[in-house]
Point group: D2
Chain length 477, copies 4
């Protein structure tokens, strides 16, 4: 059970002969952004071809015959569901047909006015086959009022509110777009035969592609046989400024990616340094809770002068393979993934650095093992503020009353976790380490200040009508 779940990862390739295979490699690099399903759609210039299924990228495409996804254009998607339940029918990219031909859409984020739009379109006679908020995008495009405009896609994007990084493909073009707030990342790269789009730049490294720049908030990039074109369909200024998701830097993005203009590992080390400066402690050793806290722990060690060591080691082979037999309780299920190195902590004053605390149950369990292995003192340092509010822009946190910080002050949280001291970075301290756009981040999950107001109550099952696969079988369609 991860702390929180990102909605999706996107990748698109235009130009190379083996476009779909390259998207497959890119999706491997983006697997951390969604482990529930994967799909790829390619275009051979005339028609679109798709394959998608529930499962990890390697499960869905390992051994797959990529000649079934021909053409020099392809886009792919890994997902965890934010809106829409876990079923095959919601697996993306969406692939549909409308008056102007076939269209495929891959979406990362959450559209906060999707419900209103859906109700309007149903009143026109539209039918919906998925429970995902992403389906509304295709309905927008298919409207006769939109379909004949020269700027059809840009016009449609102006109807959407909330978080949406999109890759869209027709038989002839590949397009990338970001919402004007810039909630979710999307980057543009170059390979010798063409262009690449991906949620994170780590995918470019995998493809030996060159990172050009990020797609800008409010920008629509179109790649076709005439080259690459850009238009700003709506500027951040029109929506009151950017709102980059700070949690991408804290937890989600990979340390080797460049996101919102900065390397993630470097930002995390700075967060660790900031923690050491703002919340020093007299300890013997600094350890991290793998994997999330490692970069920050190294930064903490450097700034504090306390030695960094491996207090915890992960079992590299557990992964998703651990299946608790039905008859067993889940109580000690965390134990199997991680172990303490007793020699490192026995008799020591241990500073534990972690990226964030959401529920806190797994962390409490792990800290208790640290104590059992002889840690004399435990000082917990967290690289962000306490989580107290839901995210409406594409991250799936537990409900408020499951959050350990819900209705609790730091001191009480420390007692619950059994530590000798605890300290979080404040919102201000956290943002101070950002070298640019310091005012352009969304911190709603910490502060409750939402850059876009969602319509009504907004949770991930907003559209949920039971559909195929509601019961979760992998076989559902």
């Amino acid at each position: 059970m991860p702390k929180a779940r990102e909605s999706c990862g996107l990748a698109g390739v235009y130009g190379p002969e083996d476009a779909a295979y390259r998207v497959y490699l890119a999706l491997y690099s983006l697997q951390h952004r969604g482990q529930e399903g994967a799909g790829i759609v390619s275009s051979d210039g005339v028609r679109l071809h798709g394959h998608r299924h529930l499962g990890l990228v390697g499960e869905v495409f390992g051994g797959y015959d990529f000649s079934a996804l021909p053409g020099r254009q392809a886009l792919g998607h890994v997902r965890y569901s934010t809106t829409g339940s876990t079923s095959n029918v919601n697996t993306q990219p969406l692939l549909m047909e409308y008056r102007n031909g076939e269209i495929a859409v891959a979406h990362n984020g959450n559209i906060v006015n999707a419900r209103a739009l859906r109700e309007e379109y149903e009143s026109y006679g539209s039918i919906f086959q998925t429970t995902s908020d992403s389906e509304i995008i295709v309905h927008l495009i298919a409207r006769p009022a939109h379909a004949y405009r020269r700027d059809a896609l840009a016009h449609c994007l102006r109807h959407l509110q909330g978080a949406f990084s999109l890759i869209i493909m027709t038989s002839e073009a590949l397009m990338g777009a970001r919402d004007p707030w810039g909630f979710r990342p999307l980057a543009l790269g170059k390979v010798s035969e063409g262009y690449v789009l991906a949620s994170e730049t780590c995918a470019f490294d995998q493809l030996q592609a060159e990172f050009i720049r990020e797609v800008e908030p409010g920008e629509l990039v179109t790649i076709d046989d005439k080259g690459i074109r850009s238009e700003i369909y709506m500027s951040p200024a029109e929506v009151g400024g950017t709102a980059h998701c700070v949690f991408e830097h804290i937890y989600f993005a990979r340390p080797d990616s460049v996101v919102f203009g900065e390397n993630v590992h470097t930002v995390r080390k700075r967060l660790g340094r900031k923690l050491a400066e703002a919340h020093p402690v007299d300890g013997d050793t600094v350890v991290s809770v793998p994997e999330g806290g490692t970069s920050a722990a190294i930064g903490y060690s450097e700034a504090s002068g306390l030695p960094y060591d491996r207090g915890f080691v992960a079992n590299l082979y557990v992964g998703r393979t651990f299946i608790r037999p039905a008859q067993r309780d889940r109580e000690n299920s965390a134990d199997i993934k991680i172990n303490v190195v007793k020699d490192v902590v026995d008799g020591k004053r241990v500073v534990v650095v972690d990226d964030s605390i959401v529920r806190g149950t797994t962390l409490r369990n792990r800290l208790a093992r640290l104590r059992r292995c002889g840690a004399r003192e435990i000082h917990l340092r967290i690289t962000c503020p306490p989580h107290r509010h839901p995210c409406y822009y594409g991250i799936d946190f537990p409900t408020s009353d499951e959050l350990i910080a819900h209705g609790r002050e730091e001191e009480e949280i420390g007692r619950m976790l059994g530590v000798d001291s605890i300290a979080y970075l404040s919102v201000e301290e956290m943002l101070e380490v950002m070298s640019k756009d310091r005012d352009g981040y969304c911190t709603a999950c910490f502060s409750g200040e939402y850059p876009v107001i969602p319509e009504g109550r907004m949770d991930k099952f907003v559209f949920e009508q039971p559909r195929y696969g509601k019961t979760g079988g992998n076989e559902d369609a």
Copy 2:
């Protein structure tokens, strides 16, 4: 490879607590009508729940937990694709949402004006997710112009042309309908707690349901908590009379079913008797090619006085399990399913009765084995005329040039098959055995006289745009 493939089998149950489980049992009885995919949707009175996948009924639902399909209403579908390729996304029942709520549709047949309707609806902004002609039915229902009428469904059905036996379900009602030509069967039955609809009555025997009557051509039957209501939305007279598919009696339907008012086994025995009368032969023994010719061979034996015996026996364990290793040719693949009983045919003049000949390749192979086992003479008798024309109403025959009767007279066919004599029933002889509706049958595949003219060229890939699963993997959605 079967001779020809039926589009689908349908079953619906209204009333019993375990409606979905009963539909599952009914689908087993209808498995001969479609082996490519199976699905069930249930209604708990508020919402619809579905499960469907490629595979046999036992593969899709064996071991399935039916508590995931709750409620007293359910409908199910087994399919072979007539329109739309073999992929999960085309597996039925269709389950969609429109203004008035959720709706599920199961369809048997082929709508010949689907293309025109689809183009019209795309021009209004509709998007299509499947490549099946059945999806147009839901779009029709979702039109604002239709959705608010009292007689919405009946009104919509009047827009459709071609073959359609339908079971439709909303959260509150189960409906059965047949096209006014009555191409495909659909029957109504009774269980103590409610009603049952099914393509063939053999499903009623499985459920210990009582057969009430067939749904009439042009009739719409609605079952809900107010009971059962019927309306004739369009009478056969309006379309020039009924056009029951005679091939249901010849080949498709199970011998234990009542179809178009008559027991199939009994009709087949009469066809055999007719053959004996019209095309007698001086033989020693009458044998059938299992399974299709058995009923007719018994009739032939009775009318001719020649003893019926088992010249061929089937390997009961081959079924779908025989998979020829990749490196092998397909040449003798028929051999593994059937063997000759040498003692029965050695030195004998053998009358072989079969239901129909489509390609003739398998039959030629089997007759050659009969000869190798010592059959002195082989006289082939077929219970229908030669197949020379495509079907536009839901049966998937090979293309014309694969038909053995394409451009060949009977004598030449007999030479190709290596028999001493051959005789088919004529259209007239075939219809003479029908005790009612003798003029109300479609014989287009024999005669080329089509009761409804399809728009343009009509084949099963009429809508085919590449979609998920085009490449045929079972995993596709």
Copy 3:
């Protein structure tokens, strides 16, 4: 659940380049003799290569790459376990190594002195890895006292008592042997490139092989590069005459096979004729319970003059795919496989011919359905006597108290089954139809007269010590 289960089917091929593939085709023809596991071992002249697993032939070898089973010699096995539980480790052919090299053994039957031999060999230090009685054969061969004899295998076979048709293969030779009683069949055939051995001749038809003769009781046939040699290692006279299993003719063998010198279908027709003569009835129609009673019903119809018809039809698609969901009782599980053709039996006096009755539960259920469909009278005719005794020679009947005839006379059985009359053939009547060897049959399951006395209590779990796979998972080894 079949009435009773045969132990095994064997096939061996010597000569052709694709020996293993031919064995695979042969095993398809023998699938009725064992559906729990399948295996093939080939020899490339130096080493043996094997593949085996639980499952049907098509499941184990469908899609298998036969280049992994190279060489011009191969033997194969399909099994139901008589001794030894259902687990992968007992799947045959056995493949082991001893002083003289590698050896593979496939066994059909049951060795009644295996326990005594096993205890003796364990006292010498032998270890056993399977729970099958067949493993003792290899231990016998591996004994130093045996391994150096010129007539090693013949010498070993003389130590065995009970039922054993064997195919044995070393890197250089293929051998077939039958016990001197001749309990189980084994036949020798010829292909252009060499020789074939198989449990039943239907496998020869599949391979387009010519049937030469049966391997004789007490004979050992050796095929190697010097040709084919035969020796009688022990004559039937030494053991008091042959004891062919009559149940092979009644129920097990395929109708298209020649077994114990006679075509099975022909024998069954004669059994039906004998029933008509010995137990006539004034009826309207003769029907069989598919598949077993069909040949006999045709014979009954011919001798009685009553018309044969299809009272029952089988659902051809159920096969092994019907899996009752966990929460359901097994009560009406038989229903799904078979249905009554009401038109055939309604208002009629029906003569039902079946091959045998073991438990009678399924039959009772089916006869009740016949009655519900309007059968006015039901007269049951069975082609063998009542089963009252266990088989120690390779057939797995239910335990005595599960047999419907256990402690019941015919009349009482008829009442339990709800029929108007019942008649069995007596042992004498049954044997009268055999054209040869009339005194050479084992009828122990009917008469309790055992040709070889088994040591102590003998059931199929005689050696059973829990082993891998006791719990039945397919994954076990």
Copy 4:
């Protein structure tokens, strides 16, 4: 493709009611010692029960119903094959029956006189079913000359030469033994209800068991209802002293385990410190190649004062799921598992610490990526000497000519890897960091000095005769 492969991991539990489930959890902790197969055998006090299959622990036992493995005793095994090919039949624990009852054996190591013993036993009439050297152990125990001795097992162990850590189980006792050289680890732990044996102490942490001590070289520990007993069946002195495998500390064992009396992470940090002292370099940052070099890199950083940073990050989701589609070359397959953090290395003089170099192909690839990301200098430091000799005691290295150090001096290796400098620890430097037993290690793979001379040529296929599964399918038995 790992650098080298350990033979096996062992775990045994005596006492708790859920012994088999605890063994399952322990095997998860030992998964790094063998990923090809897993098995567990339990004893209910009377009989043994087993389940084993090819695959990871989670694949073999995830969802398994442990009630099929009842009793308070169990032993388990994860394997990579050293002797014997990858097939199910060689999956352990071995489970066999001999005169005294059932016995299960799990073995880690390689018996160097197994061939001679096997030939002797085959001459006595023994047959062998596996191709594993471990099977000889059971044959030894089954010998009449041994089976009746009071000290039967100890007596048998004296016949074996080479590496063998063993857990053996009868219906009533659990035994652990190590060869007198102490090549492979085996530890003894305590839980409230009884005792635990495991290859590494990390398994004890998983079970919340207390580490008591290691089983001593030459010791046999017996646990039964009378408690725990120990005997030294042969002292290290009799064989010329211990020979602990130093590669357990360098590479194989988990950092959180205590092996040969020392914590592995602590030893590795000391190796890193020794490298910094013996082979200093003027660099900017110290990075490790995950996972192996991390502990040593931290030690190097501490001793050198150069900052430790994350130059490489691993893709946590690749694991075993990456399957390269068939049509693709393997060239860049390493890339997908690891990426460089450009910010960390760009323009820097980078010290790269790794545990060992075997083939060097993957490392070369990774160092080239470091260079492409801007590393100005690369200085490679290795915590052991170059590998130049095969291991006969249970580790599977590539053949000599695949070793990068085969016939090459350090300087040349450095050039091949494209580094600015390279340094290995010498055998002496490596052993200096061990706090005890410094003379008691086997360094044969570095030095070529073998503590026990193997008979003839010894490789893992010494017994290999083709057997079931030689062709590698998971289905083989």
